[in-house]
């Protein structure tokens, strides 16, 4: 039986992607006590391809960047499910770190990052409201437009 949060995902038409096998000596998440640290997630879609590739302020539009940030957030959800089995066990989204691949003149990182933040609040309600840091970085792995890491309190 699906939990409440996963029913919400179904309502939203969201399917959690299969997790990619780890490609190096690190893992998707580590839990210590009630804190779940999730590795930086690239903006890979359900088809395993980048939702947006390149830099904001250059070949990627704000709208596409927002879709990319949302895809990162979906991948965070998939990691949480793998870690604790049921998204209803999320007590609080504590912190998101947003990394926006940016041309040096691109100032709208926060707008892009809202694609991830908005999804968290849509899915978890007030428990989804989080601390956040957004920065514009020189480049991301695979030329991804956005990467997001997360910290969650879980029961």
């Amino acid at each position: 039986m699906a939990g409440m949060i996963e029913s919400k995902l179904t309502e939203l038409g969201l399917t959690l992607p299969a997790l990619a096998a780890p490609i190096a000596n690190y893992v998707g998440f580590v839990r210590t006590s009630d804190l779940l640290f999730v590795s930086g997630q690239l903006c890979l879609g359900a088809d395993g391809k980048l939702v947006a590739k390149g830099k904001l302020g250059a070949e990627v539009s704000i709208e596409d960047g927002q879709k990319a940030a949302r895809a990162c957030a979906v991948n965070l959800l998939a990691q949480i499910k793998a870690a604790v089995g049921d998204l209803d066990r999320v007590v609080r989204v504590v912190r998101l770190g947003g990394f926006i691949s940016s041309a040096p003149s691109f100032l709208d990182g926060p707008k892009v990052m809202n694609g991830a933040s908005d999804l968290m609040v849509t899915v978890f309600g007030d428990k989804g409201r989080h601390a956040r840091t957004t920065i514009g970085v020189a480049v991301l792995p695979l030329d991804a437009a956005v990467e997001v890491e997360g910290l969650f309190e879980v029961a």
Copy 2:
């Protein structure tokens, strides 16, 4: 009655700024157990304007960057006060993350970040000595010269 730390701020001639209303689906801080995660704070002054705008190694001097980092630290203090009501409840400044908007040739990020670190030690004494990571980033929101996030142990 003001606490000891706030009396110290008064001695230093520092006034905590009013908190800006959240402009997106995130919040200024999240507390989980005794850990307080504070969102990345831009170098906004008491007047709501950026203390320094642009990049270190280009249009922003080290001195102005230090003032900017100090402003970020003041904004962290304001978030702590909003979170726990009294700065005396800070048990330890655990970690600061410093993001310096940098031309690719600018190597003095740590000097700039000292503007934030020094304020923490001035205000909190030994409890203010923290772990720190400083990096030079491509660009920051609003073209801010400096952004600082913080983690605090609170009682």
Copy 3:
């Protein structure tokens, strides 16, 4: 008597470097409860010189970047030892944050960061498998090619 992990380091021919004296108002680590937050470590070798200087995708090769990341990891180990006295007290490597000084076109940050991740797993085994975030940054202090910060659960 050396602990098991330090015997492992000896087998690997690894010597932990002396810790540099803090050069500013921050410290190499802060422990709060069972969590040890270690400051960002630059790729300084045992001789106190940078293992690799400059940017990946420009004057630094992937191989040299990997050596640099490994040096950062060795410096993290030295900080842990200073913090808790014996590396056997590491319960889990929770998270590494990898910062790769990158030309805007360099896409192989994760390969570089493996130099740090692989060392953690070599030294700690399964306890060394960690959550990880890797980003390409504009520039690092001293023109270091790599910087790595770490979070550890300790007993």
